[in-house]
């Protein structure tokens, strides 16, 4: 079924896909993706698959293109002037760069959590209800249910249940980031993209986010960009290692960290550079 891509891709896939359990259905399919910012090429011929209800981690040194790739999945790169994309990304069988794709619809199906927690300067409640309201939910009872459910799933409900009407900016950094996760899952997306979600948090808040990711994995497909290799090792099922815009190696997290096939991957995961 998935064997249509061109020859060069097939060769590339041969090693990479072997590491992925065959029973897990694919969610995102990236084929020969390249991306340019003006004249600079930020992504070079990336091919990989992201499986449903699994955590896929992108690691690599700063500027390697991992965040850029993540932002391709919900087309946030559209917001930057002068970005060109080549190759294909299919999500659930649809080419997301096809001209008939409604970007707004796409983004409603793909949640995103950013590096710097960015709650709206509104109440905790209004933050979580923002997405559902965009979808047209107006009934208070319905919103109440969604808000409580999302906050519970983001492991934040017990901490904020008495301050739903207070400003979200009064929460701690870790709470704000979990609020952003609650806000993202309130629209019931299929995929959650996380761009270094814990890089600005202390170790305790970080471990809470990591526990949460493992919990959310049951319902959502999660793609996470991280600088923290231990984090990738702890929470992800698959790992891709990027360097200078290229996908050096992609496979199961265990294989990448214990038995990397490429010298550069080994150097990076053992801390010899990066």
């Amino acid at each position: 079924m998935h064997q249509e891509p061109s020859k060069s891709v097939e060769i590339a896939l041969a090693t990479e896909v072997s590491a992925i359990p065959p029973e897990s259905p694919k969610m995102i399919d990236v084929e020969c993706l390249s991306l340019w910012y003006g004249q600079t090429q930020a992504l070079k011929d990336i091919t990989l698959r992201i499986c449903q209800r699994m955590v896929t981690a992108f690691i690599g040194p700063s500027g390697c293109g991992k965040s850029t790739l993540l932002r391709c999945f919900n087309r946030m790169n559209d917001l930057i002037e002068g970005v060109r994309v080549g190759g294909r990304i299919t999500i659930g069988g649809h080419d997301i760069n096809a001209p008939d794709v409604d970007v707004i619809e796409l983004r409603k199906r793909i949640g995103m959590v950013f590096q710097k927690s960015n709650p709206f300067p509104k109440s905790v409640y209004d933050n979580v209800a923002y997405g559902p309201r965009l979808l047209g939910v107006r009934a208070k009872r319905e919103l109440d249910v969604v808000v409580e459910d999302s906050l519970r799933r983001a492991a934040l409900w017990e901490e904020v249940r008495d301050r739903l009407r207070e400003s979200a900016l009064g929460l701690s950094g870790g709470q704000q980031q979990r609020l952003c996760i609650a806000r993202a899952i309130a629209v019931k997306p299929e995929i959650i993209l996380m761009d270094e979600p814990a890089s600005a948090l202390d170790p305790i808040a970080t471990s809470r986010i990591e526990d949460l990711i493992l919990e959310l994995k049951r319902d959502f497909t999660i793609v996470i960009v991280t600088h923290n290799m231990q984090q990738a090792a702890r929470i992800s099922d698959h790992t891709g290692f990027f360097y200078l815009g290229e996908l050096i190696e992609f496979g199961s997290t265990r294989q990448i960290f214990t038995n990397p096939k490429k010298k550069r991957t080994e150097d990076y995961v053992t801390g010899r550079f990066g």
Binding site: M76, L79, I104, F120, S123, L134
Partner: protein
């Protein structure tokens, strides 16, 4: 290298020699203090001069009386008509300038491509608008609003008597709105730019359109900054006389204005009239000062109202959002 160690020694040596630095810092602290004092002094002289000379002629009768044809007599004259005129032209101006200025600023910050020549031209035009002398705005208002738009309206409506083709509160307010447009645009642009990009991204990533993002997240947060622009515009416009000379102000009117197409009397213009047209300068001086005092108090009151509303909005944003 011996050279480098020698220079290190001299650098650390210089660090301990403080007398010279002390003199300069003392000198400049004094200079900045003096400059501040000078400005405060000038302001104090102006305010004291006006208050001391004006408060005796100021009375409830003075501010609540519609002036007679001969308004140079301190015993009978009043400034109610001027208070009404100045207040209404400032309020009508605010109603026009805020939406136009805010929408222009939204276009410039949120929609216009950053480095395009068109955007640059628009921004340059806005800045140049701020540098145009106010009398030129007055002439523009006469030529464009009254002689062109007003005349066309009268022709289109088939009015035999000139209704729109004459100076009025409406045209004076529109002229002032054009004049204060740059103030509102710049203030709004600044407050829009101060909103972190992360918040816009968060909204867009949730599937909000650009318009939804602006309406639900960006504008509510920019509101205090927009109101600052409004306050600056009101301050600038309240005392302006030149732009309304040809577009709305009247030397004398027996009645208060009742509709937007009426002419009006104005505090600033009345100050000019009292100081240049009076048959007896000595006799008129107290009411001249009192009129200036009323203009100052009115501007202050308008500003204070806006500042209080803004404080309320800020508090609400901080508490709830």
């Amino acid at each position: 290298m011996s050279g480098s160690s020698g220079s290190t020694a001299s650098v650390s040596g210089r660090h301990f020699r403080a007398e010279r630095l002390d003199f300069f810092s003392f000198f400049f602290t004094g200079l900045t203090g003096l400059a501040t004092l000078l400005i405060l002094g000038i302001l104090a002289v102006i305010l004291l001069n006006i208050v001391l000379n004006g408060w005796q002629a100021l009375s409830w009768r003075f501010v609540s009386t519609i002036p007679e044809k001969d308004f140079f007599d301190p015993a009978t004259t009043g400034v109610l008509a001027m208070i009404v005129g100045t207040t209404s032209r400032v309020l009508v101006m605010t109603i026009f300038v805020l939406p136009v200025g805010v929408i222009t600023a939204i276009y410039l910050t949120e929609y216009a491509p950053m480095r395009s020549p068109v955007t640059r031209v628009i921004r340059g035009a806005v800045n140049n608008l701020a540098g145009v002398p106010s009398i030129v705005f007055g002439l523009f208002g006469l030529g464009f609003f009254i002689n062109f738009i007003g005349a066309s309206l009268d022709d289109a409506l088939g009015n035999s008597e000139p209704t729109w083709r004459q100076p009025s509160i409406l045209w004076a307010s529109l002229t002032l709105a054009v004049m204060t447009l740059p103030v509102v645009i710049v203030a709004t642009e600044e407050s829009l730019r101060a909103i972190p990009a992360g918040i816009r991204e968060a909204s867009l990533a949730l599937g909000a359109t650009k318009l939804e993002t602006i309406a639900r997240v960006v504008l509510p947060q920019a509101l205090p900054g927009i109101m600052t622009g409004g306050i600056l515009a009101v301050s600038r416009a309240a005392g302006e006389v030149a732009p309304i000379l040809f577009t709305g102000v009247a030397y004398y009117m027996a009645d208060l204005p009742s509709k937007l197409t009426d002419q009006f009397m104005d505090l600033g213009y009345h100050v000019f009239v009292l100081s240049t047209q009076s048959p007896n300068i000595e006799q008129t001086r107290p009411i001249l000062y009192a009129t200036v005092l009323v203009l100052l108090l009115l501007t202050f009151a308008l500003n204070l109202t806006a500042v209080l509303i803004r404080a309320h909005v800020r508090r609400k944003l901080r508490a709830l959002g």
